[in-house]
């Protein structure tokens, strides 16, 4: 009798599993549970510390190169790091080399600056999309304005208060590249190494392990990886957001998968040996 | 294969010797004594030359390591395109760094002397690409110690594009060896009866087709999203030929949804031919091959729809797949089909492996075509592949022993030779 019921459970209609997963992922979006996330990985901590120690007024160049496909993981990272920069009164410049990310950058700067009373042009600036990243990166080493003479709204970049004293990489405190592509490798290889500018990275969870060597050698000062990294960074700046609710969802969903795998094996055992 | 090793090493050594000879500074670096108010500090052996093995536009500066290279000393390298003045600071580094051994080139193409500074200067960082390749550049090295700077003599060079990447010699030699083996194997291809081991999973093909015939349901053959130049697609077309031959014999139905129009035209021919060979040209229909879409996920959505509506008895996924692998395989599994997959995309293999009944892993897909058709040309190609794998296994085995021994007993040059041999430049 038990075996029969279990046998049925074994071949359970997959749609129940789908429903469970949907619920588990959706609920934390409406109501973040705040599951414990005590561990903060070393690389996120380093990234946070590096930005935290920059003197106020330093110029941070954000290269936000992610498109809607990697948005769930990278957008919360971008929001958290931009927030942190504003908290520390750093000047923020944004560039991008992925056409699809312009809309997402817009979304970041629709809300965040207002919370910190930051003004476009005075405290931050967004530059238009450029193709051919490597060429642009190399060019910026000698003259930033040779490439970016105007900001996204068509204002003369040289006269913007936020750009005061910025001519090339030497005048920048930090470069942050958040991407799901190999753009971060370019920043490290063509800019960080060559012109001795510190580089921080934000990447998707899958590509995170690949950056181990760069971190070891200090070519990357810190790395934020995946939704987990975003959640960690949010908790470091004391502003839980999409990263935190995302990691709640992921926590539960992963647990669900594990529970399912274990149940199916348990049933298998019972049917076989009892 | 082990016998070949000393031979190879010998060739490398020959080249190394020839190169060491040709890499002499020669007339490239003309030294000039500068006449000025400050007598320059002579750097012994300072030469400027064209960086070898490149497209031009990069210069190489060398000078001897000096006893004065203390940690608090640093060098600055200046470049100019003008007859006088116009100096641009190109590089700066501590005096105890940047020796020849830091330049990443193999032993047969580069003499890595630790007693010599070597600095690569990419001139197109400072000048336009055209100018960097065409004009004569002058260089000087400034030694900075205790905030005092001493200029060196000035040297000059015009860079040039080179004609051979000697550093890729190992690659070229390997290429030639494989070509020779390839032609040996192909010219012996007519010899019958080349042995191939049984490939599990292929027997399942018959079983799947048989089942489809019994149930009177169609078979789906999904060739993936590769184009005709991807190997997995070529292999898939061969397997499709064999599968459709059997389908024609059993008088079953087959459907092939396509992503790439070129693959579709090829597959049309393949299926038509198979039906002809099976003696059933009358059963061939033009709509066996069907074009779906050239957009990855809309292809997946549409094939999913087809599979879930028609509930085929068997589904084959053979070819090049990306993220849609699981989208397709899971729907096939739900609709109750026997699924046989094969792909050489290693990131997608885990999903096929878990969701399908049988999976041809990587190379097995290539071998499957040969195994099924027993065509001599395919079989002999498989032999070349086996030869290649043998080379790898033997190289790894002996490489690891030699390197470990070399490192243990500190035969550094020996270790370097082996590591250089197995490095792509």
């Amino acid at each position: 009798m038990l075996k029969e019921t279990l046998g049925k459970f074994f071949k359970i209609d997959r749609r129940w599993i789908f429903l469970l997963l949907a619920v588990v992922l959706f609920v934390p979006i409406i109501k973040p549970i705040g599951l414990p996330n005590k561990t903060i990985s070393r690389d996120t901590r380093h990234a946070f510390d590096y930005m935290d120690k920059l003197p106020a007024g330093s110029f941070v160049l954000f290269s936000l190169d992610y498109d809607p496909a990697t948005r769930p993981e990278l957008h919360p990272q971008a929001v958290a790091m931009v927030r942190h920069a504003f908290q520390k009164n750093l000047r923020v410049g944004v560039v991008t080399y992925i056409a699809g990310s312009t809309g997402l950058i817009q979304q970041v700067f629709e809300k965040v600056p207002a919370q910190y009373n930051k003004v476009n042009g005075t405290d931050y600036v967004i530059f238009p999309y450029m193709a051919n990243a490597v060429a642009v990166m190399t060019q910026m080493a000698s003259d930033f304005y040779g490439i970016y003479d105007k900001d996204q709204d068509g204002r003369d970049a040289r006269t913007l208060p936020v750009m005061r004293g910025i001519r090339n990489y030497k005048n920048m405190g930090l470069i942050v590249c958040i991407t799901g592509t190999s753009m971060l490798d370019y920043w490290v290889a063509y800019v960080g190494d060559k012109f001795k500018v510190p580089v921080l990275g934000g990447v998707v969870a899958i590509s995170q392990p690949g950056y181990g060597p760069y971190l070891q050698t200090g070519q990357l000062k810190g790395l934020v990886g995946g939704m987990k990294g975003a959640a960690e960074y949010e908790s470091l700046i004391g502003q839980p957001g999409k990263g935190a609710s995302g990691i709640d969802s992921l926590n539960l969903a992963h647990l669900l998968v594990l529970a399912l795998i274990l149940t199916s094996n348990l049933i298998l055992l019972i049917i076989k040996y009892l | 294969m082990t016998k070949n090793k000393p031979g190879l090493a010998f060739i490398f050594l020959l080249f190394a010797a020839a190169n060491a000879f040709s890499a002499q500074p020669g007339g490239a670096g003309k030294e000039r004594t500068q006449t000025g108010p400050m007598a320059p500090l002579r750097l012994a052996g300072l030469t400027a030359m064209d960086m070898p093995y490149d497209a031009g536009g990069t210069a190489l500066l060398k000078w001897d390591v000096r006893p004065e290279d203390t940690p608090d000393t640093s060098y600055q390298v200046y470049v100019s395109s003008m007859e006088t003045g116009g100096w641009i600071k190109a590089d700066e580094f501590p005096a105890a760094s940047r020796t020849s051994s830091e330049i990443d080139l193999p032993f047969w193409a580069w003499n890595a002397a630790p007693k010599e500074h070597a600095v690569k200067l990419e001139l197109n960082n400072f000048y336009g690409e055209e100018q960097a390749a065409a004009s004569v550049f002058r260089f000087k090295v400034t030694t900075v110690r205790d905030k005092k700077a001493f200029d060196s003599q000035v040297v000059s060079v015009k860079t040039a594009g080179n004609w051979f990447r000697l550093d890729r010699l190992n690659n070229l030699v390997l290429l030639l060896v494989i070509i020779i083996v390839f032609f040996l194997a192909v010219s012996h291809a007519k010899r019958k009866g080349l042995f191939i081991r049984r490939i599990a999973g292929l027997d399942a093909i018959d079983e799947a087709i048989g089942r489809a015939t019994e149930m009177g349901k169609p078979i789906y053959y999904v060739p993936g999203i590769g184009n005709m130049s991807s190997i997995s697609t070529i292999a898939s077309a061969f397997i499709l030929g064999e599968v459709s031959k059997k389908v024609a014999q059993y008088d079953s139905q087959i459907k092939v949804p396509h992503y790439d129009p070129i693959v579709m035209t090829v597959c049309k021919e393949v299926v038509k031919q198979a039906f002809l060979e099976a003696g059933r040209p009358d059963s061939y229909r033009e709509d066996i091959n069907q074009f779906i879409s050239q957009d990855q996920f809309s292809y997946a959505a549409s094939v999913d729809g087809l599979i879930s509506r028609e509930k085929p008895a068997a589904v084959f996924f053979m070819g090049y797949f990306m993220a849609e692998s699981l989208l397709l395989a899971e729907v096939g599994a739900t609709s109750g089909a026997i699924q046989i997959a094969g792909t050489d995309v290693e990131t997608q293999l885990p999903f096929f492996f878990t969701a399908c009944d049988y999976t041809l892993i990587g190379e097995e897909l290539y071998a499957a075509g040969a195994y099924l058709s027993k065509e001599p040309m395919l079989l002999s190609a498989l032999k070349v592949q086996d030869f290649g794998k043998l080379v790898v296994m033997v190289s790894v085995f002996f490489g690891i022993i030699l390197v470990a021994a070399g490192a243990k007993f500190h035969w550094d040059p020996f270790v370097r030779v082996i590591l250089n041999l197995f490095k792509a430049y």
């Binding site: 997963l21 809607p68 969903a253 | 390839f182 070129i262 050489d344 592949q385």
Partner: protein, 222 residues
């Protein structure tokens, strides 16, 4: 006729194959320029190959509509979808955003194409769970290894899993991320590398067959 139907095409394969192959070993500017030009050409030729697909798609769905086969009504939506992307593209000259903000094309991309493709991609999350439920059953020693590796990776990726690991196996002194790193960088690398090397040899041999005109299935029958 045989010359232009067969031999010249085979000569084209051979010449372009050998030139492209050779350019890898020649650093000279000429070779760099050659590769750049070929790259551009290849782009252009494959753009035309896309037309083949487009015509095939239209042909098959026109056929369905004109023959009124089962579900022919849905085929109309194929054309609707096509126009929904192409008309805005014409109107906006292929630009997704302008000084005034998002254009019609940008709108169509964001709310139609992107909504569809990312949803299809996201469906994978459901399937990955049901596949896991079905396939990670320990029926043999090999299946156990598969199960263990997957279980470990799934567990260790999220903070809650790390807490569970610490509670259950913390006494071993090895953190779950260390174990994962070991798995990913030692045994998994061996497995992956083996597959990759095998595949690359296969690719090289097949490429030779193409260059030397032995493999010519793609040319179709005479």
């Amino acid at each position: 006729m045989k010359l232009i139907k067969k031999q010249i095409p085979l000569a084209i394969v051979f010449i372009f194959g050998v030139l492209t192959l050779g350019s890898y070993y020649v650093p000279h500017k000429l070779s760099v320029d050659y590769i750049e030009m070929m790259n551009k050409w290849e782009n252009i030729v494959s753009a035309f190959a896309f037309l083949l697909g487009l015509v095939s798609l239209f042909y098959s769905h026109c056929n369905k509509i004109s023959r009124k086969t089962d579900g022919w009504g849905y085929s109309i939506f194929v054309f609707a979808g096509f126009l929904a992307m192409v008309i805005p593209a014409f109107l906006n000259n292929g630009k997704q955003s302008s000084a005034a903000g998002v254009t019609m094309l940008g709108w169509a991309f964001r709310y139609v194409y992107n909504a569809l493709s990312s949803t299809m991609f996201a469906v994978l999350a459901f399937y990955i769970v049901s596949t896991a439920y079905r396939s990670f059953r320990i029926k043999s020693a090999q299946a156990f290894v598969l199960f263990a590796a997957a279980f470990l990776l799934i567990l260790g990726k999220v903070p809650l899993g790390q807490i569970i690991w610490d509670a259950a196996l913390g006494w071993t002194g090895a953190g779950v991320d260390q174990v994962i790193e070991w798995v990913m960088s030692v045994p998994a690398v061996a497995g992956k590398r083996g597959i990759m090397i095998g595949i690359s040899i296969g690719a090289i041999v097949t490429s030779f067959k193409i260059i030397f005109g032995i493999e010519r299935q793609y040319m179709g029958k005479d």
